[in-house]
Symmetry: C2
Subunit: 341 residues, 2 copies
């Protein structure tokens, strides 16, 4: 194909999603260049993958974050990190990612290039391969810049089961500070500035998770507290497993700037989305050991034991406040921060 896209000046039009020459050009000159690998080069509608394991894990997420670029990341890196984390948290080794783009007519190709390059870099750093994709274009006013779906596939090369029912007395470990992602996105969205700049914690956790897996500790289950924050994850667990959860506020790491931003805005850090944190339920006897292993990883230096599984027929999540009081941790029903991932 001889016509060159002008990646600095051109914008997306409907023809880029119409299955014709313009779409082929976009795929050739942008996606295939950035996501270069043997499987993608098959140029087929389906990618054929060889697997060594008999069990795989699959997870899908569509990213609709606004704004597309925020302190500490962008929709491209987020779309890789989020899905890598969801797969890795099952215990599988993440290998492959598919990408589905919905682009609004008029979107600058220069921004698309930035996003695609960011995805490619995030995939490379996480050790995953983008194997197939799809591009759709919608008319101006029928989308919002770019939405990205990623679906991740991992293989179980080690035989773990992290979908175990927790026991009463099991400990809950959090890998680090909460609220940074939500506050970073909101500060950009609302043009707020704070004393110290808060950046999103968006990161691929598969390296950390592999170290935890290889520690030999008895991990019951793990999850990343994204939308709805750690309050949502803990309430989901309580509901799903039919247990109670008790956490201790003074043990939960929160950056002082996040804390004051939340006070200013009337938000609770427990409800705010994270994109590079995990919560794990671990057997009590292994909790200290797991914590020590985690703290050796750069993404979990501030890991903390934040609570435990309790017996509670109401399946409530309760919290001891920093002042020694006790309150329920609500599972918010409305939205606190829409379009956060």
């Amino acid at each position: 194909m001889s016509i060159k896209l002008n990646l600095k000046k051109d914008t997306i039009d409907l023809s880029h999603g119409a299955g014709g020459k313009a779409m082929a050009m976009l795929i050739d000159q942008l996606f295939r260049k950035c996501f270069d690998n043997d499987i993608l080069a098959q140029q087929s509608d389906a990618a054929v993958l060889s697997l060594s394991a008999k069990r795989i894990a699959v997870s899908t997420d569509t990213y609709v974050i606004s704004p597309l670029f925020f302190p500490g990341g962008d929709i491209g890196s987020l779309a890789i990190h989020g899905t890598v984390n969801d797969v890795a948290l099952s215990g599988a080794t993440v290998r492959y990612i598919t990408v589905g783009l919905v682009i609004e007519e008029g979107f600058p190709l220069s921004d698309l290039k930035r996003i695609v390059e960011s995805m490619a870099l995030a995939a490379k750093l996480a050790g995953v391969c983008i194997v197939t994709g799809d591009t759709k274009v919608v008319e101006r006013g029928k989308g919002d810049g770019v939405f990205i779906n990623t679906t991740g596939i991992g293989v179980f090369d080690v035989d773990v089961n992290w979908q175990q029912r927790p026991q009463i007395g099991d400990k809950i470990i959090l890998s680090g500070q909460i609220g940074n992602h939500g506050v970073a996105v909101m500060s950009k969205r609302q043009n707020l500035s704070f004393d110290s700049k808060i950046v999103s914690d968006s990161a691929a956790l598969n390296g950390l998770i592999a170290q935890m897996r290889d520690s030999g500790c008895l991990i019951r289950t793990m999850r990343d507290p994204t939308r709805g924050g750690i309050a949502a994850t803990l309430n989901e667990w309580a509901h799903q497993f039919g247990v109670g959860v008790h956490i201790d506020e003074s043990n939960i790491p929160v950056h002082p700037t996040v804390q004051s931003a939340c006070e200013l805005l009337g938000l609770d850090p427990l409800n705010i989305a994270n994109e590079g944190k995990l919560l794990a339920i671990v057997a009590a006897q292994d909790a200290e050991k797991l914590l020590a292993v985690m703290r050796q990883h750069p993404l979990a230096e501030q890991a903390a034991m934040v609570g435990e599984i309790t017996e509670d027929r109401n399946h409530f999540v309760s919290l001891t406040t920093s002042f020694g009081g006790r309150r329920m941790v609500q599972w918010i029903s409305g939205e606190q921060l829409p379009r956060i991932c």
Copy 2:
């Protein structure tokens, strides 16, 4: 969860995508009910799947069709059919589907229910299992009703390779009438009515493809001519494999109403999207046999041999017209019918 969704009257609001209680209710009371299966019931961010094969095929597509409901289908059934077909065309047996929804605020829950039920039925009929999903909600005016990403996974229980380079003289087989999907969608979109009603050909082709696979015929490759129509598929092949393609217009099945609609609207059926058709390249000696096998399947009763692979250093697609003339089959560069799938 005690609060019940009113599936007849409620509409989607931002809370349904916020990771809190409202989202959990939607998942519990609509998705989990419709897509009921053991894997989905794991309630984890990643689905864990057991596989019997060492090779899998993966394909992803986002569906942005407008209108959401059209003669012969809706975005839900289409999102299953399209992805099932892309995976099946690799030669794999399609097993699993993931679903990522982006819903616009204010979308009626009754319409969402219709779409989700349609997906569930299409998946059941195609013999595939919806194993995991994701829901996002965007503000009014930042989306268009519903966009659906589906990613499909198939396993190679029979060892086929349908990514072979075609040979000069290989035959091209088309499974039936072209243009029905595009014309059906357009007639609904523009409120056109024709003498006889044209319905979309949207269908899952995995049954037909399995019969073709089991026929023992030497199939080089297959593809479904969706966006851009058979003109796009044939040009992609010519470009990808470095060959020429020649087709014979009089052998291409076109419904008379589609033909007249195209003439009226200045469109070429060759450029119009299909959602239940396939094109196959087969070794010349097996072409008649394959055609006979295909015609026994209800979705390919009108299958036809439409052309062949030629030697052409320009990698052109040419056509002998019904009147005996000869012309090039253009790979359109702009969009003819946006949002067709």
